[in-house]
Amino acid sequence: MRNPVLAGERVYLRPMEAEDAEAFARMDAGETDTFMYRHRVPSSPLEHAHFIGEAYTQQPPGSISLAVCLREDDRLIGSVGIYDLDWLHRTGETGSFLAPDARGQAYGTEAKHLLLEYCFDRLHLHVIRSHVAETNTRSAAALGKQGYRSAGRVKWDEVKNGRYIDGLIFDLTRPEWLAARDAWRAGVSVASSSPAPSPPPARPA
């Protein structure tokens, strides 16, 4: 593993490096889904390089982005982050992105668990939020499995297929995260109405 911040069974999180820029641009070019955003957009390695160059210059940071890599071969497969950090109120907003060819293999779930561990166990945040377009049912379901609870919806948040669509808001408090983490480790469901989540990644020795 290269400069890991947190490591799970199959994936680990590390700071982004300048040479990751081309890989992120390739992921955007290969995007297969259209329901997550308003539309797909080709991105340049130059803009990713600029973002990465600025990402770790501010202390304390207003946001933290981390690369998601596979343990088996160090391949970069996506990113996770905590944004709009408020160090006084101890809040932030989480986000994640996985390359199209890395989806459907539970890498995203493991990466998100690591991010939540980073938010609550290392940064000691009290509550976090997340926001998805109502058309992004996959991410909304994933948030539910991770312990987030519905906080409501913001109206007319985006435009899609000729009409306005809403944004779905979720939040997760520290006590709920601790309970969810313990439940995951015990291999039981967080909420009876939700499908049983995956067991947590084993922690490396």
Binding site: R129, V154, D157, R163, Y164
Partner: protein, 179 residues
């Protein structure tokens, strides 16, 4: 030009008005600058100049909230616009030493909602309000805003935490299919 010349007639209430920021505001940074830690005049000036670079392109604007009777700056509001979907989010910061901040913010919010929704044709005005600010919440509801989401325990207080209430005003003159 005096500061009185910058008072917009259309953003003026009984107690407060909203105006563009000016360089002299750097001397009162604690009243309007929503920084985590204290800032001096030099830092406030830097922020002012950064915020007024490429402002039209950035879709973000800060307005000072000032008292009508003496022009004292008592806070600020940031307007974050997403022009492609015609929405605007409001973020308030009030001078921490004022006991009447809740009432002044409420009046400013009412002025802004009417201006944004009824004059600038914004589709949605959004404001995230702490649940312990009853005057502001009452002003939001009086202006036609509706609470659409609640983030639990979002703001820290000396004696605990309070929820964040997400209020929105939708533009009723626009016809939106299936919204």
């Amino acid at each position: 030009m005096g500061i009185q010349d910058l008072r917009p007639a259309y953003l003026r209430g009984a107690s407060v008005y909203l105006r563009a920021m000016v360089e002299a505001d750097k001397e009162r940074g604690a009243a309007w600058l929503d920084e985590t830690f204290p800032v001096n005049a030099s830092r406030a000036e830097k922020t002012l100049k950064e915020e007024h670079t490429d402002q039209w392109r950035r879709g973000e604007r800060r307005l000072a909230i000032a008292r009508c009777e003496d022009d004292e700056v008592v806070g600020s509001v940031r307007l974050i616009s997403r022009d492609r979907v015609r929405t605007c989010a409001l973020t308030f910061w009030m001078a921490p030493w004022r006991d009447d901040a809740d009432a002044l913010r409420g009046e400013a919010l009412g002025l802004l909602v009417h201006w944004l929704r009824d004059e600038t044709e914004v589709m949605v005005v959004t404001a995230e309000l702490p649940a312990d600010q009853p005057r502001t919440i009452a002003a939001a509801e009086a202006a036609g805003m509706v609470r659409n989401a609640t983030l639990r325990e979002w703001f820290g207080r000396p004696d605990g935490r309070v929820d964040c209430l997400i209020y929105q005003a939708l533009n009723p003159r626009w016809v939106v299919r299936d919204a």
